[in-house]
Amino acid sequence: MQPPTARDIEIIGRPEASAGVAVALAVASVSAGFPSPAEDYIEQALDLNDLLITNPPATFFVRVTGTSMIEAGIHPDDILAVDRSREARHGDIVIAIVNGELTVKELATTPVLRLIPRNSAYEPIVLREHDDFEIIGKVTGLVRRFR
């Protein structure tokens, strides 16, 4: 069996499934002077998935509710791309399970393990060894649509 390419495993609603909106951009910029040898050359159309997804099978999408991360620029109704294969480090924004709920917070590993809301009205969650929590993955992108 050949390793599947992104196109082989199309699933409706998953961004890697989109054929990619063709946004062909000419590379050459407008400049006075000598013509660039690359002027006629058009690079491959841009695909937003390239920006958001590096590991498709491990990437999931979630929708934000609430304002606990508003000071990090994460608003209610934003869509986050979560890569479960990326190891989360101190300072990363992560998706975690705490008390049976999915939550988005900033991970702090020193001086103690904490999940930090980026909203001064909220208190950090200190994680102890026997707490029921799990770091699901690292948030690798954000999508927001405007009206």
């Binding site: 599947p4 099978p57 491990a58 929708r63 509710t65 869509i79 294969s85 999915l102």
Partner: protein
């Protein structure tokens, strides 16, 4: 060397994936039409809820233990399955997708199998959140047994390397013969009469005798148990003498047009199953009946018909199914169930053609292969128009979870 990777409690695990509140909770998934239990979480198994129990018998478990019940959410399972298969394809040289939650890998040339298995298992768990069991052995039949060993004995950590001959013998000795891949209950009854009780007995038996008294396939299965590979990737012992596709209707069917769509859909499903086992069939039957409990006059009937030559072509069986349905259809009844069965199955490859039927055979195989490949994900993107587009006979799915990974409006929420 082969590995069989099998997802644990696959449907129930998919349901728990985006419901962290249910991670340690008893969860069951119901079959089509919310009929009976087809998947159970570990906690549901611990409560003693058996596989296959009808949904209406769960009421007490729901009230007493809060068991969470889901309808089959195929869009979700297909997506998670694709992700698992894709990770396997990245980490292993060759993959045969065997079912929605099982795959055989060719792991020849890997030095430390146990370490490879543990890495594979950890990766699938971390990347996707699904737990798998892995059995590895020199043949597919042994890998299948190694896999069930990995599931049954927690001390294995979900990974069993059965390349050692002595370990093979120890496992085969405690494996009843009916648990061997491709040996059904009927066949095992005959084997037990001959004193073949365990997998070890079967593997030790004279292969010529097995071939003469049973089939080439059983002889090959016995050789596989003995450590001699007979099935390559994409090869399996064809266990089927017939293929069945049948369901209870969500709403009673009273019109011939709706019934025709249903029967055509079941026929398409059965034919796909047939081809997946690399088989042709020669004849089929169609059956339907009303409810035996409804109080009104009961009517049930079945019709059987044959093709001029064995076929794997859905179109041949559609034509036949239409004629068979016409023969048994009676107006004025409210039908609760219908189905089709394909009989006289034979291997696809070498076969005799009827004098009339040689033309177009190649094109038919190519077309069916193309259709199956498109539909492989189980989401039915290509289907025969005679199945209908918005069928009223489709099933109940009263406990359906959201399409967490395949619909932007249904993705999980985080706080």
């Amino acid at each position: 060397m082969f590995a069989l990777v099998d997802c644990n409690n696959f449907y129930a695990s998919c349901e728990q994936l985006f419901r962290p509140d249910l991670r340690h909770w008893p969860v069951v998934v119901l079959s089509n039409n919310d009929g009976c239990v087809v998947s159970r979480s570990a906690a549901a198994k611990a409560l003693g809820i058996p596989m296959g129990v009808p949904a209406y018998q769960l009421k007490e478990a729901i009230v007493r233990h809060g068991v969470e019940v889901f309808s089959s959410n195929y869009a979700l399972y297909a997506d998670i399955s694709q992700r698992v298969m894709r990770v396997l394809a990245e980490l292993a040289p060759e993959v045969e997708i065997y079912s929605i939650d099982e795959a055989f890998l060719d792991v020849g040339g890997i030095a430390d199998l146990a370490a490879f298995g543990r890495r594979l298992r950890a990766t699938v768990r971390q990347w996707i959140g699904i737990t798998v069991a892995i059995g590895m052995a020199p043949t597919k039949t042994l890998a299948k047994l190694a896999n069930s060993g990995a599931k049954r004995f927690p001390a294995t950590g979900g990974v069993v390397d059965l390349s050692d001959r002595e370990r093979q013998r120890r496992l085969l000795r405690i494996t009843p013969v009916e648990e061997v891949w491709g040996v059904g209950r009927r066949l095992s009854r005959r084997l037990r009469l001959m004193g073949i009780d365990t997998a070890l007995d079967l593997g030790a038996r004279d292969k010529g005798e097995l071939r003469r008294r049973f089939s080439v396939t059983l002889a090959r299965t016995a050789m596989e148990l003995d450590g001699v590979p007979c099935f390559g990737l994409d090869e399996a012992p064809p266990p089927r003498k017939q293929v069945i596709s049948s369901r209870s209707f969500g709403e009673r069917v009273t019109s011939l047009a709706a019934m025709r769509q249903a029967v055509c859909a079941y026929t398409a499903t059965a034919c796909e199953k047939l081809r997946r086992g690399r088989q042709y069939a020669r004849s089929m039957s169609v059956f339907l009946h009303t409810s035996p409990h409804a109080g009104t006059a009961y009517y049930g009937n079945a019709a059987h018909g044959s093709l001029p030559a064995p076929s794997g072509d859905t179109r041949d069986f559609h034509r036949l199914a239409g004629r068979l349905l016409d023969a048994i259809w009676k107006d004025g009844h409210a039908y609760v169930k219908a189905g089709v069965m394909l009989h006289d199955c034979c291997p696809m490859a070498p076969m005799q053609l009827s004098l009339l039927g040689t033309q177009g055979l190649h094109a038919s195989d190519a077309l069916m292969t193309a259709v199956d490949r498109i539909n492989h994900s189980g989401r039915g993107q290509v289907f025969w128009a005679n199945q209908g587009i918005d069928p009223s006979w489709t099933m109940f799915r009263n406990h359906l979870s959201p399409a967490y990974t395949t619909n932007w409006n249904a993705i999980p929420c985080v706080r």
